[in-house]
Symmetry: C2
């Protein structure tokens, strides 16, 4: 009997970062994983066209492309380069059959956050017509406030939702990642509002280790930390989300493991602890 | 000519953690620092009564006692212990002449944040009459969301303000620490609201290092990170705050230095970069 939960499991290639795209496709399929979110670095080895062929042949659903964004820059040329790069990401998503590009919006250390936020809105405005033309949606992923210095000036679901409302496109929504949002006192209210507005486009899973050792590469496996993942999944589903449960775990500790063994642990934790 | 900025400089004993209270008093006075915020561990060596005498004799203004809080616990007995300990902190503050106890509100890993938040409100309610009776105010310090697992379930200025409004005591307000709040899109609005409500009780300074290496002990010296400290100080002052500029820097790197040299750097950075 097929496991209905497993049929919604998607793994980010970054979760098994040491694997090539080919290894990831083989490994995910063998583990019964149904979907894949592709990080752009995973396309580099074979190129976009060949990677697209491999993805098609794999039978896995391509859930999204990670990642676009990083719109703010100190000068116009830098911001234009970001826009061009995002358009290219949209093209790559269309080529590999990904319906969604996830946006890590960016920030420039020392530039006032309100200015970075303005540049982010400007950047998304600039690429939205291209996304629409290619049939690709854009998901703003608010990042944990500990990344506000250099990765994203969008740090809460409310900010992300208000940004989407200002852009007012049915091709722009939000990716909810439990790692970035679990602490937010407005979490439930904002997830409901995103559902209402039909802007809940993606749902990412991992866990917050209580004794986090590194800001970037010490995410926990689901159940190894303190996030109420099942509770947040309930919120997301009550808000009408019927999409994928995407596991995205950056962990230098786990990347040092045999990735097949690690993937087995991920699938087990997903079945038993989410 | 006295430096008006320097006359508002307060150092937290935790900033020069390797120093005893005696060394801190001598060092701060020699450096022209006018105020001191005392961490409870600094009272341990000489005891509260003798420390109080030393503080009185030093001529330094005692700005606050750090810290009370940590109200949530899994059982009633644990929460009662926290309340008792907070009452003792209030007594210690009264004894050393500190008009304020700063509250790091606490959290229990795995306990739902809304339950920890309820327990925090309950705990502050329980100690407020004691604080009032001893003439000591309580300052809720919202902590950065990266501390939501085990240090504080109060993670934004808005949450802290709303908590104060629910408690509705003129003895309960908020401590604004740039490290915890700089990323908050509601920063300016919330500081103004706190000023309006006469609940802006303390202002803490340090900086956010862009390549932060440790979640707890890698705070930056003012100017070494990306926080717009002068901008936030401007907000706080426009909101009517006339109190101390308190430097609170946890840094294993700086604690390894000669603390006199380190204090000199702190005072210089305060004069030139805040």
């Amino acid at each position: 009997m097929p496991d209905p939960l497993l049929s919604r499991l998607c793994i980010h290639t970054a979760t098994t970062k040491p694997w090539s795209l080919r290894q990831a496709l083989d490994g995910y399929r063998a583990a019964g994983v149904a979907g894949i979110t592709v990080w752009r670095d995973a396309l580099a080895l074979e190129g976009v066209a060949e990677s697209a062929r491999m993805l098609r042949d794999s039978g896995l659903a391509v859930v999204s492309l990670c990642r676009g964004g990083f719109f703010p820059a100190l000068d116009v040329a830098g911001r234009q380069r970001a826009i061009d790069d995002n358009k290219q990401a949209i093209d790559e998503a269309a080529t590999i059959g990904a319906p969604l590009v996830v946006l890590v919006c960016g920030a420039v250390p020392g530039q006032p956050l309100h200015e970075s936020r303005r540049q982010i809105a400007e950047g998304i405005h600039a690429i939205e017509p291209h996304a629409r033309a290619r049939g690709v949606k854009l998901a703003v992923e608010p990042l944990h406030p500990m990344y506000a210095a250099d990765r994203s000036a969008i740090n809460s679901l409310r900010q992300a939702r208000e940004l989407c409302e200002a852009i007012a496109s049915d091709h722009v929504g939000v990716a909810v990642d439990v790692y970035h949002c679990w602490w937010d006192p407005e979490l439930e209210v904002e997830i409901a509002a995103l559902g209402q507005a039909k802007r809940l486009l993606a749902f990412h899973l991992c866990d917050w280790r209580v004794d986090t050792r590194h800001l970037l590469t010490d995410r926990g496996l689901m159940g190894d930390g303190c996030i109420d993942i099942a509770g947040i999944r309930g919120c997301v589903e009550r808000a009408g989300f019927k999409g994928w449960n995407e596991v995205e775990i950056f962990s230098s500790e786990k990347w040092a493991m045999d990735q097949g063994v690690w993937l087995g642990e991920v699938v087990k934790a997903y079945r038993e602890r989410c």
